[in-house]
């Protein structure tokens, strides 16, 4: 488990992280979302032991991570700009990772590079940006560390590769204790990968929730209720987060289980009703609006 206990970090006069308190449970894919400058990279760099928190502590399985090789050995950090040695090939980097991460799985790495069509003997500086990201992720996954911290690693990957990486993560989650933490400035990049998301804004965490949990308790419904009085009654009955009416078609985003909401609608004798899929963006907009933030301005 990763525990972030009141972490503060400033760069000169700039407060990058302001009393962050959060917990990242094992076995989930944690998405860290926030605008540029929200403090995502700073938080990941603290969690990987690159930066030292001014106050507070970042604990990896109960151990302070800064200058603690034992704790750091459980973490692999993939920076937003992947670093490879000058003129290095994939093989060169693999050799180095094998030294610094003794649990590095060479066999799996070879298998994955082959699957991704990456030539191990080719110089990395001749690769495209996306290919470099692939190399970086594959190296990170094969380190065998319990925690993989990815800073904007998925931004820019094409959908096929995203899917491939997602499946690798799923496989790792099944086969071993593995907890990836993925930071991104875009929720859209994370919604199909993460199952838990934390929203960072101006150095503080606004929200940290399980996606499935959120999806189970927020629903979007479209319906046509001929009686305006009953329509009003419906809006009062439901815990409405958002509603919109175009012509006779009423669209409602409300908190509650699918069954509860549908029962309320059926009760008002609608001509038509259906439950629509909610995007992660819509869930976040709804959740953060309730918290008093106009999240549209923050992350979209």
């Amino acid at each position: 488990m990763i525990e972030i206990n009141g972490v503060n970090k400033s760069f000169g006069a700039l407060k990058a992280l302001d009393n962050i308190v959060a917990t990242i449970q094992e076995g989930s894919i944690f998405g860290l979302v926030g605008t540029n400058g929200a403090g995502k990279s700073t938080l990941l760099r603290i969690l990987s032991g690159v930066l030292k928190a001014d106050t507070g502590a970042a604990l990896i399985d109960g151990q302070n991570v800064y200058e603690n090789p034992e704790a750091k050995a459980k973490v692999c950090f993939l920076s937003d700009t992947a670093y490879f040695f000058p003129n290095a090939t994939i093989q060169t980097m693999e050799d180095y990772y094998t030294i610094v991460y003794p649990a590095f799985d060479r066999e799996r790495f070879s298998e994955l590079t082959e699957k991704f069509g990456l030539d191990k003997k080719r110089r990395i500086n001749t690769f495209s940006k996306g290919m470099k990201k692939q190399v970086s992720v594959l190296l990170g996954v094969c380190t065998g560390t319990k925690y993989l911290l990815c800073d904007e690693t998925f931004d820019g990957l094409d959908p096929v590769m995203r899917q491939a990486v997602k499946s690798i993560f799923a496989m790792e989650l099944m086969n071993r204790r593995f907890t990836p933490v993925i930071a991104s400035h875009s929720l859209r990049e994370l919604e199909d990968i993460c199952d838990h998301v934390g929203l960072l804004h101006k150095g503080g965490i606004l929200l940290s929730k399980d996606l499935e949990d959120m999806k189970l308790h927020i629903h979007k419904v479209q319906c046509v209720i001929p009686d305006p009085v009953k329509e009003e009654e419906l809006l009062t009955e439901l815990h409405v987060l958002q509603h919109d009416k175009r012509g006779s078609l009423l669209t409602v985003v409300a908190r509650g289980t699918r069954q509860e909401i549908l029962m309320s609608i059926e009760d008002k004798q609608p001509i038509f009703s259906e439950v629509l899929p909610l995007t992660l963006e819509e869930i976040f907009i709804s959740e953060t609006e309730v918290a008093g933030y106009d999240v549209k301005n923050l992350i979209f």
């Binding site: 032991g49 030292k52 090789p69 750091k72 920076s79 060169t92 991460y101 003794p102």
Partner: protein, 692 residues
Amino acid sequence: MTSKISFFKLMKEDLKRRSWLVALVWVACFILQPMVLMLRLESVMSAVNGGYMEKAYAINTYRSYVGFENEGLALFVILTAVVVGASGFAFLHSRVKLDFFHSLPVTRKKFFFVQYLSGILMFVVPYTVCSLICMLIGMANGLLTGAVAVYALKVIPFRILEFLSAYGTMILACVLTGKLLNALLGGLALAGYLPLVLSVLVGMKSLFFSTYLQDTNGSMRAMLHTRHMLLSPVFVGSAVENMLEKNAQMLHNGKWIVIGTGMLVFWILVTTGVALRLAVLRKTEAAEQAMAFPKTEGIVKVLLVIPLSLATGLFVQDMLYASDKKWFFIAAIGTVVLLSAVVEFIYHTNMKEIFRHKLQILLTGIATLAIALFFFLDVSGYDTYLPAKEDVGKMALYNEQINGNFYYPELGESDGAFQSYSPESALRNTLISDFDPIYELARKGARGEKPSEEDGRTICVEYRLKDGRTEFRQYLVDRKDLEKAMTALFSDEEYVEKTYPIFWRETDLDPSSEMYVEGLFGSEILKLTKEQKQEFLDVYRKELRTISYQDLNENTRAAFSVSIVSEEQYDPYLRSSTSYSENGYPICEKFTETIAYLKEKAGLDVTRQISEKDVRSVEIMDYRNREEESIQIDDPEQIRQILEKLEYTPLYFVTDDSESINIFLTMVDGQTSMGRPYFKKGNVPDFLMKNE
């Protein structure tokens, strides 16, 4: 898990990553050591084999190449240290690299040692191997004698220590800064800062204190003194090697070598230790910033600007040859503003911010001015310093007209040659207990009594205080006061014996030392056997003890000079030696035994009168008018008139009542007069009076 990460594997990986540098150092070492040596020896050995050159010369050439004399290699060592240090620790200046390296399960300390030791290997292995190849080359050519082998083996560890010191400094500069350019500038600052401060101190004393004992070899030499370099963590190695080389040539006392080696080790420990400590404390976010510890920015700026501004002031004053000190102040204050702006630009690379810290610039200017005024107004009372007589144990006086003729040993206090003409060496060798006449002169000098330009004489004084301290001063004193003091001093046998090295320099006289007697007649070599030379010296010493200042000034007929060849300086390879000559030993009229010995054993009559028949021509350089006039006189009658009025001293004394005319006599045998023939004021031959 961490313990499984092999330190040596990390080192191996670092060496692989920097394989370009490993190859470069190997190639450079190979070219600069065995290859250049072979090229040099090729021509030398062919000359030796052809019988054109002694083998000893080839050995000496080889020795100088593998030894401390090879300054090019010393420079290469420093440059390599800079490049290896910068390449090993430049990752500290890159955020991307730090994100990678600092996220690895390796402590910063361990990573420091990995980089540090692999860097050392990069230099030590190729350098040592190439040095050993050089020894094999010497052996193959028959040049590696036992002594040369021992010497060459001694050079290797010293060069490695020199590397370590410069290497540690460069690493420290990398750790202290956030950009490579700043690291290089920082390395330069660390290398030169303390010698600069010391040199500025010497320069300020020299400019503002009239009693400061100037280095006779020039102010630049004083400023670039080898001993100052011991304070440089980069150049300390070269300074020690320089001392070792002089020591190898018997030109240097060992005391400073011990101190220098101590300083070298000290700098290695300090630079490496501080760099390690700061590398652990250094924040990762310092990468790409000007300084790794932002709070030091202001301090570093002020500490750099003040001495550099003062140094610029000294430089400008020196360039202008101006007596008016205002140029010093103008240049120093101007440099404060300019340098502050330059440093701010280096920090922020933004022209708009170069004058951001105006108060800091103002305070730096005030501090610079305060230091300059401290010297200018002589707040410390340097020029008026006069210790209480009861606190003084001994004193010495340097009068150039007398002491300037002789070499005095350095007594291990300096890094200069074993023998020196410097006033400091003379003073250290001529300390006397009965110093009243010197103290009286010093008292007048310290009081600042300024004699007229014509009557002013510069003297140097050493106070050896009873508490062990030593103070040197230089005073301008009145000629008459000096003559009075000299008269008193010459009556003190201790003064005479210490002043004339012939009394105590017996060991330096080698059979090949030659002796000359110089007078109006020219210079004659003494054709004496070794025993006769010794006999002559015994006679001479006995009479010299009785000399008075009046004898020296008025009754000296000739001077005896000796070309000294020190056995210790004899070069066994070159089969030659460095000789130096002293030509200030007076032969006065009252030295009857000396004169008789010279006449009897060397066939030389120093008392013989010179007539117009002995002189072929006289050259007159007349300076009485502003323009120099040169006249060649061949007419016997005119020569007779000249000889009639001619006065003579063999000691180059500038007699106070002499005319500004230089006279050179050429004898019929081709010899030229030695010493100083002159006319007394108003006693010039009639035919020359027309020139007035």
